[in-house]
Symmetry: C2
Subunit: 472 residues, 2 copies
C-alpha cells in the first residue's frame, strides 16, 4: 500500500472541470540535457510545455506564470489548475505549464524509457534534474528580458514549486505551493499522520460511526473470507471484477479500500467532480451516510460497506465491476508507475498506521523492505535523505516568497508546512479544503475559506510582481 | 594565457606562514557518492578533511568552522588561512578544512583519475558535486546536533563558500567569502577588468613609469627576439632555463610574464611571504623600483625588466634559472591542471586585455577557441552558463548571511561582489588588501584596513552564531 498511496498524490488533480474550453494553449518542446550535473555525455531530449500568451501584452509582457509540472501528463494539470489561468488573466501574465521529465510525452528515451532491461534509463529521473529543466526553460522564455516569473504547483508540483523558489530565487520571484507535503519525509513527520487525518475526515463527515465501522470492517472481511462461500459472498457484494481466491487477494482488496479512503478524503470537494470515477459533492459524507449506524453484525457491516463503496466505484451507475487489482490504471494520464519509480529513488515518504487510533489496519514503515522491493523492481536503491539534505527539511528560515496553502480536510496537510519560519513565508490554511482545492478554478460551491485563500494568494503574488519592478 | 591565469587564483594561498605549528589537525576521510545527482551507479570514494576540536568543548561544541576547500591540497589552505584558526579559538569552534574532490588526495579514481584515455573519469568534477560532498560531510559531523556551521573560503574557495550558503542555508548559517570573484563570468563583468586592475596596481605602486615600461616591453622583446643574437641576449639577461628559439617560445615567455604580474599583484602583501618563489614585502613596489625611469631605449628597458623580474624569480638568490615554460609546476601542491579542467567545464571565466588602457598585450576572449582546446585536451565541452543559471549571477537579492570581502589591490576584486543587494549581505572593502589578505593570520605589518575587516568579520560571524541559538 505504501508505494501506491504516493501515487494518490496526483489523483485529485485529474478532476475534470466544467469549462475546459478556457484552457487553451500551444504545445511546444524544449531541449534539455539528459544529465545537468555531470559531463559524462552531451545527450539531450525534449520536454513538452504548454504556452498561452493571450492574456499578456505580447510586446511587453508583465510576468510569466509557470506551473512546475508533476507526475503525469501536463495537459491534465493545466486543465485542473483553473486558479492559475484566472489569476493570469487578471495579472496579464504569460501562462506556461511545463511537463515533468519522464511523464506524459517528455520521455528521455522515448518508448524505451521504462524498458525494464535498461534500468540505467531511469538514472536521471530526479527532482534536481527536473528543476534544472525548468530553470533552463524559464531562462529561454525570458530571453534576456527582466520579467518576473511566479511558480505554481499543487501536491508534488507544489513541492517542486517551493523547492524551485528555495534553490533558484533568481529565477522565480515566488511560489504558490498548494498542498505540498514537503515535510512528508523520514524524521520530519510521524509516519501515521496521513492515516490519522483521513480517519478524522471520515469521523466527522457525518458521524463517528463511519470510521468506527471501517475500523471494524477489516476483521469482518477476514472472517467472511475464511470460507470459500464467504469469499464468493465478498466478491458478489462488492461486484469485484476478479474473485477473492486467497489471502493475497484479500489483502489486495483491503489495500485497495485503504487507497479509496485516501482518495475520497483528498477529493472531498464541495461539488461534483470526475475523479478516477465520477464523484458526488462531499463524497466522504455521501460514503458515510451508508455507515451512519454502528453495525454489531459483521455480515450487515460488510453489506453496508459495499453500498458505501459504490459511492466511489459506481456513482455514475455505469461501472460493471470493481477492479481492485488494477486501481491505479484507470486513466491513461495517471502515471502511477512513474511515481512508483520516484518513490524508489528520492521521494521516499514513510507511511504507517496504528489501528488503535485510526480506522486503518496497523502497519509499520519498513525502509529495508521498501528498498528491497525497489531494487528488485527497478534496480534502484532509495536515497531517503536526499530531499532533506538538499531542501532543508523543517529548516526554512532562509527561504522567502513561498505560499504554503493546506486544506485541513486533506490527508497530505500532515506533511505540509503549517507554521511560518519568517515573515516572507506565507501560510494559508483552508479549514474546509481538501487537496489543493484553492488551485482549482472558481466554483459557486466553493466554501468561504477557499475564496478568501485565493484572494490572499492573488494579493501576495501581485505584491511579488510589484516588488520585482520596484527594485529593478 | 587565459586558461593559466585561472590557475593563479589559488597561488597566493600557498604563502608559507611563520608559525605553522599552530595549524594542527587530524587528517580524516569521508566517503561520498561519486555522482550525487543520478542513480546510474552506487560508486563512491573518499575525500579528505582536516579536523581540530582542541578549541571546542568536546562534549558541547558551540559551532563548526568549515573551510570549503578549493583547487589544491587542503593542507595548504589550512596553513594559509590563519584567520579561521584565530577566530575558531575565540569562538571555541571545531575547525574543519574539507578537501575538494579531484584535488590533493581526494581523487575519485585514485592514480587513474586524470588518465587521458579515460576522460569519463572527469565527469563528476563540478561545483555542485563538491558542494554536495560538503553538505553530506557537515551533516555527518553535526551528527544530529543543533550546531551552527560557518563556511569559510578564499578565492575559488570563497566562491564555494558563498554558493554553499546560497544553496544550503539550512546547513551553514553564513559564509565568509574572501576575494571570491563570483561575478567573473560571461555577461556579468567586462573581460578586461582583471588586467585593468593589475595595471592600476603597477601604475601606483611606485610611479606610473612602471606600467608604462611594461607596456612598452612587449615590443622591445619582439624587436630583440627578431635576431638570433637578440634571442640569446634575452635568454642570458633573464636567466632563462630554456633558450628562446622561435616565436612560440617568445610568446610563452611573454605569457609567463603576464602571469607573473598577476601573481605579484595578488600577493602584494605588506610582509615577506613565500609564494611560488619567496617574495619581499610589497613586491610590486620592489619590482617597480627597477622600472622607475621611463626607458626610451629598448635594450635598456629589457635590462631593467630583467632586474625587476628577479624580485619575483630570485628574491632568495638561490634560483638557478627562470623556468618560463613550466611556471605552474613549481609546487607539488599547486594543482593548475585540476583548475584547467574546471575552466573547461563550468569555471569558464572570460579574460581579455586592451593594450590601449592596460600594460598588457591586446587579446580577445574567444569561447569557441577555448572550447575547442578543452575538447581536444579533455574531451570536455564547456558550459559557460551553468554557474550563472544556478547561482544567480548578479541577482543575489534573496541571499543572506554572506560576507564578501575584497581587497582593492587584488585583480580578482573586479569580479567580486562590491555592492550589497540587501542588509543581510555584508560587503567589506580592503583598500590596502591584495588577494584575501583578511583570511591570512594576523601580522604586525597588517594595514589598518585588514585589522578592521577581521574585526568586522568576527563580529558578524559571532552574530550569526548567536542568532542561531536565539532562534533555536
Amino acid at each position: 500500500m505504501y508505494v501506491y498511496i504516493c501515487a494518490l498524490l496526483f489523483s485529485s488533480l485529474l478532476l475534470a472541470t466544467s469549462a475546459q474550453s478556457k484552457f487553451e494553449y500551444e504545445i511546444k518542446e524544449f531541449q534539455v540535457p539528459l544529465d545537468h550535473f555531470s559531463f559524462l555525455s552531451n545527450a539531450s531530449f525534449s520536454i513538452r510545455y504548454l504556452y498561452n500568451e493571450s492574456y499578456a501584452d505580447k510586446s511587453n509582457p508583465k510576468s510569466i506564470f509557470f506551473y512546475t509540472g508533476n507526475e503525469g501528463d501536463i495537459e491534465w494539470f493545466a486543465k485542473n489548475s483553473g486558479f492559475v489561468w484566472e489569476l493570469a488573466e487578471k495579472e496579464r501574465a504569460i501562462v506556461v505549464f511545463a511537463e515533468h521529465r519522464y511523464y506524459g510525452k517528455s520521455l528521455p528515451f522515448g518508448s524505451d524509457t521504462f524498458n525494464a532491461s535498461k534500468p540505467e534509463h531511469l538514472a536521471y529521473f530526479t527532482v534536481e534534474q527536473t528543476l534544472e529543466d525548468y530553470a533552463m526553460l524559464i531562462t529561454f522564455l525570458r530571453n534576456g528580458r527582466q520579467l518576473p516569473v511566479v511558480a505554481f504547483g499543487g501536491s508534488y508540483g507544489g513541492m517542486l514549486a517551493a523547492w524551485f523558489r528555495i534553490k533558484y530565487p533568481h529565477i522565480v520571484v515566488g511560489a504558490l505551493a498548494a498542498s505540498a507535503p514537503i515535510l512528508q519525509f523520514e524524521g520530519l513527520t510521524p509516519c501515521d499522520i496521513f492515516n490519522e487525518i483521513t480517519t478524522s475526515v471520515f469521523n466527522t463527515a457525518y458521524n463517528a460511526n463511519c470510521s468506527a465501522n471501517i475500523g471494524k470492517s477489516w476483521h469482518a472481511f477476514e472472517t467472511m473470507a475464511a470460507t470459500d462461500a464467504g469469499k464468493k459472498q465478498l466478491g458478489d457484494k462488492f461486484h469485484l471484477c476478479e474473485p477473492i481466491k486467497n489471502g493475497d487477494d484479500l489483502n489486495q482488496f483491503m489495500d485497495y479500500l485503504e487507497d479509496v479512503y485516501a482518495n475520497l478524503a483528498m477529493s472531498n470537494y464541495p461539488y461534483n467532480t470526475n475523479f478516477l470515477a465520477p464523484l458526488p459533492a462531499n463524497p466522504v459524507r455521501q460514503f458515510c451516510l451508508y455507515l451512519k449506524d454502528l453495525h454489531a453484525d459483521e455480515a450487515d457491516l460488510v453489506s453496508s460497506m459495499a453500498s458505501a463503496l459504490a459511492v466511489y466505484t459506481n456513482y455514475s451507475g455505469s461501472d460493471p465491476c470493481v477492479d481492485y487489482k488494477n486501481s491505479n490504471a484507470s486513466s491513461a494520464t495517471v502515471d502511477s508507475s512513474g511515481w512508483e519509480i520516484q518513490s524508489c529513488n528520492q521521494m521516499v515518504m514513510p507511511f504507517c498506521a496504528n489501528s488503535s487510533n485510526t480506522m486503518y489496519r496497523t502497519s509499520t514503515w519498513d525502509l529495508k523492505k521498501v528498498s528491497d522491493k525497489c531494487y528488485k523492481k527497478f534496480q534502484l536503491t532509495p536515497k531517503p535523505f536526499d530531499i532533506v539534505l538538499r531542501y532543508g527539511g523543517r529548516d526554512l528560515v532562509a527561504a522567502s516568497n513561498i505560499i504554503f496553502s493546506n486544506g485541513l480536510l486533506d490527508p497530505w496537510s500532515g506533511g505540509g508546512v503549517l507554521m511560518s519560519p519568517n515573515d516572507r513565508i506565507h501560510i494559508i490554511i483552508l479549514p474546509e479544503g481538501a487537496h489543493h482545492l484553492d488551485l482549482r478554478q472558481s466554483n459557486p460551491m466553493d466554501p468561504a475559506s477557499v475564496v478568501d485563500a485565493r484572494q490572499k494568494e492573488a494579493a501576495i503574488i501581485g505584491q511579488w510582481i510589484s516588488e520585482f519592478y520596484r527594485y529593478l
